[in-house]
């Protein structure tokens, strides 16, 4: 795959006003993906690529939107697809988003909470996933 940092015509490295970054860490056996910045149709694929790198064995994924400044239906579609895909692997998606923030507003308007849990903070989300894992019977 071509490196998105390389310009296709001149091959030069580009620095742009890159609007989103995704960082992934493990916490308590749970994977937490923190999305910082703005996500729209122009960079949702980049976010999708980062989120697709989830190992099979984790009980689920916390998507931490506390550092996200902007979300619209492109991100909603991504989250929706992600929740479905995780469910097929018996994994859970939990979203962390502060109440009153613009991304939280969009999540609620798009009724994301019907399919995925939304909690106010990433710590709470990690906790909820751990509890869920500990409660389920071992395979």
């Amino acid at each position: 795959m071509t490196d998105p940092q390389l310009s296709p015509d001149t091959g030069a490295w580009r620095a742009t006003q890159d609007l989103v970054s995704v960082s992934i860490r493990e916490q308590g056996g749970v994977t937490v993906a923190t999305i910082s910045g703005e996500v729209d149709i122009s960079n949702v694929d980049k976010v999708a690529r980062a989120l697709n790198a989830l190992p099979n064995v984790a009980p689920g994924l916390v998507v931490d939107l506390s550092q996200a400044d902007y979300l619209d239906s492109s991100a909603i579609s991504l989250l929706h697809g992600l929740a479905l895909r995780l469910r097929q692997r018996s994994q859970l998606l939990v979203i962390a988003s502060p109440p009153g923030s613009p991304p939280r507003r969009v999540l609620e308007l798009a009724a994301v909470h019907i399919n995925s849990r939304i909690l106010d903070e990433p710590e709470l989300a990690v906790q909820a996933l751990c509890e869920n894992r500990d409660r389920s019977t071992p395979a």
């Binding site: 795959m1 071509t2 490196d3 940092q5 310009s7 015509d9 001149t10 091959g11 030069a12 490295w13 580009r14 620095a15 742009t16 006003q17 890159d18 609007l19 970054s21 703005e38 729209d40 149709i41 122009s42 960079n43 949702v44 694929d45 999708a48 697709n52 099979n56 902007y70 979300l71 619209d72 239906s73 492109s74 909603i76 579609s77 991504l78 929706h80 697809g81 479905l84 895909r85 097929q88 692997r89 018996s90 009153g100 613009p102 507003r105 969009v106 609620e108 308007l109 798009a110």
Partner: protein, 711 residues
């Protein structure tokens, strides 16, 4: 390594066949285009017509299936989002029928995440996907590759045994070529492994492909690229040498054809689907990739029950494995050295530039064409306060890790001086004293340092032996901001500081660059500067395009002899009055248009509360996103936007010239629903010439009104 017997036979057969009539029987297989949007079909036909293939069209998944019952088709272009039977469902049905299951499918989509899960898309029969807007040449190239493959497959089925042998030979050669063609030589390792996996999977119609490579940092072979169904590898991503059947084969460097009973228990379990059904793979080809007597990795190809691999496939792949191993080995050796260098370099250059509401920035770095060596060129940009941004560029003489670390230290020191409030001249002077105190006279560096004040409309600059920046005015005139230059850093720190201030107006662009951009051997620098001046004068408006245009028009086709860095900065207008923009209907326009709106709202509707402004940004982005999704992918499609203030409302208008259909799928539907929830009025006016969306939001409305949620 001596040629294997199959290779010798192949070569003999090729010599015989070289004298035969290459004309093939007329091929009647066509290319099937499926899109429920008639205009898209017309445009696809126009793009593909030059190929001279027979083009069939269908306006729905059902119609496509009916056509496939009676026509020979070599490749299908399938729109993902259709009403009724959508693209993925149609693909699955096509794949479930024995007569059509091997026809390659290329998905058409506005964004890759429309496919939900890429691996699911591949599992449902796709060999590729293309996002809108399409590059016509690329689409044509992809389609013609699959037409060619289909042609070969069709011919083998139809011809007599002698003919079939000849085709097998041709296929052998083509297969080998496909794994060693020149295009692969230019890929990085990740691109190469993905490309090899895709080619192997397509050529052998495998239901699962996995490429495992040895890694220096840990034992075992790691999965580097894969496609399709799960592979019999416990843990999914690593084959441990000596463990299980696969590990044993790897250790012994054997290539074999396996059935599932040959696998160990844990390997078989690794493939089992969660619902306890039959594993999707019934036969497995294991190919060892070996170079210079060393194991490089394993290539696994799995086939489902309906078709299984034969010894012929094994022989062919074993031949191809040699070439694959060579390509991988080559890339790994080269990449190793380069990676170290590039990682270091990239960690020293900022890959994100600050985002200022009044400034647009873009930067490029192009290393010299010489052997991979870290360079000394650098650039940086930081916001000092609400109005001022510091922008700098420099060149540390020499290459190597020493130059790079020096560059990093200088950059950090300069940042500190700038943030402390020093003017550019004084900051460079302080920096020079640091250089003399710590590094000594042997290191020489040039620096150009600017502070742009967007509120006052000024740029103050100081330069230490570095070329001056170019300034392009709103009417396209380009001149260099000549100021008296200080000496390069590291020469003499007793020279007093000097800087100069110039006005800069809205729409004007500054270009900072290093001398690699304008210097060529046996040429005066004046010539290079003039060339740059002309390139900048003729460049498009946007900062990203300026960087690309200038790079293209100052290179002589060769990689640069010295590193090149450039940084473009444009001052946006603080608009009062309506905001009017015309933009290409492509996804990078979306953040651009949103940021312009953000700046405009701040300046023109200050009374609007934070939540209301955020709502408007979403509504506006959604409407523009719909244009990008639905405008067909011709490069020149544009759309217009206008934001204006009416006595009691903020009004946003988006106009396109395509045919914007009411979205019936969940994506577009979500966008429209959000627009209605976030605005007080939404009107959509569709005509044959285009669609205008008008959205209004009352100025005194409070953004967090709970009633709004049910609107």
């Amino acid at each position: 390594m001596p040629d294997s017997r199959p290779a010798q036979e192949t070569r003999a057969a090729v010599t015989r066949m070289a004298r035969a009539d290459p004309t093939r029987a007329e091929d009647l297989a066509g290319v099937l285009l499926v899109d429920d949007h008639r205009q898209n079909l017309v445009a696809l036909q126009a793009v593909l017509e030059p190929l001279g293939e027979r083009l069939l069209t269908a306006e729905s998944g059902e119609q496509a299936l009916r056509i496939l019952l009676r026509e020979q088709v070599s490749v299908i272009l399938l729109d993902v989002r259709m009403a009724g039977l959508d693209g993925l469902q149609t693909a699955r049905i096509i794949r479930s029928r024995p007569s059509t299951r091997s026809i390659p499918i290329i998905f058409l989509t506005a964004q890759a995440s429309d496919l939900g899960d890429i691996s699911e898309a591949y599992a449902s029969g796709a060999v590729d996907y293309v996002t809108k807007p399409f590059e016509p040449e690329i689409l044509r190239a992809k389609v013609s590759v699959f037409v060619e493959l289909g042609r070969e497959r069709g011919e083998r089925m139809r011809q007599s045994r002698a003919r079939a042998e000849a085709e097998a030979v041709a296929r052998t050669i083509r297969t080998l070529q496909i794994f060693s063609d020149a295009a692969l030589a230019h890929l990085e390792l990740d691109g190469l492994t993905a490309e090899l996996v895709e080619r192997a999977g397509t050529l052998f119609q495998a239901d699962a492909v996995g490429l495992f490579l040895r890694d220096e940092t840990a034992p075992g072979l790691f999965l580097r690229a894969s496609r399709g169904a799960p592979l019999p590898v416990p843990g999914g991503d690593r084959v441990m040498l000596g463990e299980g059947t696969l590990g044993r084969l790897a250790f012994q460097r054997q290539s074999v054809l396996l059935s599932m009973s040959d696998l160990s228990r844990s390997e078989a379990d690794a493939m089992a689907p969660a619902d306890g059904g039959e594993p999707p793979i019934a036969g497995l080809l294991v190919i060892a990739l070996v170079t210079s007597d060393e194991l490089l990795g394993l290539l696994l190809l799995g086939a489902s029950e309906e078709r299984s691999f034969g010894n012929e496939d094994l022989e062919l792949l074993t031949l191809a494995a040699d070439r694959m191993a060579i390509a991988i080995d080559h890339v790994q050796r080269f990449a190793h050295g380069r990676q170290l260098v590039e990682t270091l370099q990239r960690s020293l250059l900022p890959d994100r530039l600050p985002h200022h509401p009044r400034l647009e920035l873009a930067a490029r770095y192009l290393p010299s064409g010489m052997a991979p060596q870290i360079g000394g060129d650098w650039y940086d940009a930081i916001d000092l306060d609400r109005d001022r941004t510091a922008v700098m560029i420099g060149d540390v003489v020499g290459h190597g890790v020493r130059a790079a670390t020096t560059m990093s230290e200088l950059r950090n020191a300069l940042r500190a001086f700038a943030v402390e409030g020093h003017g550019p001249g004084e900051a460079l002077h302080q920096l020079d004293r640091v250089v003399h105190a710590t590094i000594g006279i042997r290191m020489i560096a040039t620096v150009l340092f600017l502070i742009i004040d967007a509120a006052q409309g000024t740029v103050t600059l100081a330069r230490a032996g570095h070329p001056p920046p170019a300034l392009r005015t709103a009417d396209g005139q380009v001149r260099f901001l000549e100021t008296e230059s200080m000496l390069p850093l590291g020469v003499d720190d007793r020279v007093p500081p000097s800087d100069a201030t110039h006005p800069i107006g809205p729409g004007e662009t500054l270009l900072l660059f290093t001398d690699g951009l304008v210097e060529r051997r046996r040429e005066s620098i004046t010539v290079g500067l003039e060339r740059l001046r002309a390139a900048l004068a003729g460049a498009p408006e946007g900062v990203e395009e300026i960087c690309e245009h200038v790079l293209e028009h100052t290179s002589d086709g060769q990689p640069p002899g010295d590193d090149v860095a450039l940084l473009a900065v444009r001052l946006l207008a603080a608009s009062t009055g309506p905001l009017d923009l015309t933009l290409p209907a492509t996804s990078p326009s979306i953040p651009l248009v949103r940021h312009r709106l953000r700046a405009w709202l701040t300046a023109n509707a200050p009374g609007l509360d934070r939540m209301a402004r955020a709502d408007l940004e979403v509504a506006w982005s959604e409407a523009c996103t719909n244009v990008v999704r639905h405008a067909y992918g011709l490069r020149h499609a544009t759309f217009d936007v206008r934001a204006s203030l009416e006595p009691t409302m903020v009004v946003l208008e988006i106009r396109d010239r395509g045919s914007w259909r009411p979205p019936r799928d969940r994506h577009g539907g979500r966008g429209l629903q959000l627009m209605r929830q976030l605005c007080d009025e939404v009107e959509i006016d569709r005509s044959s010439g285009g669609t205008t969306v008008r959205m209004g939001r009352r100025l005194e409305a409070v953004g967090s009104d709970p009633d709004r949620m049910t609107a």
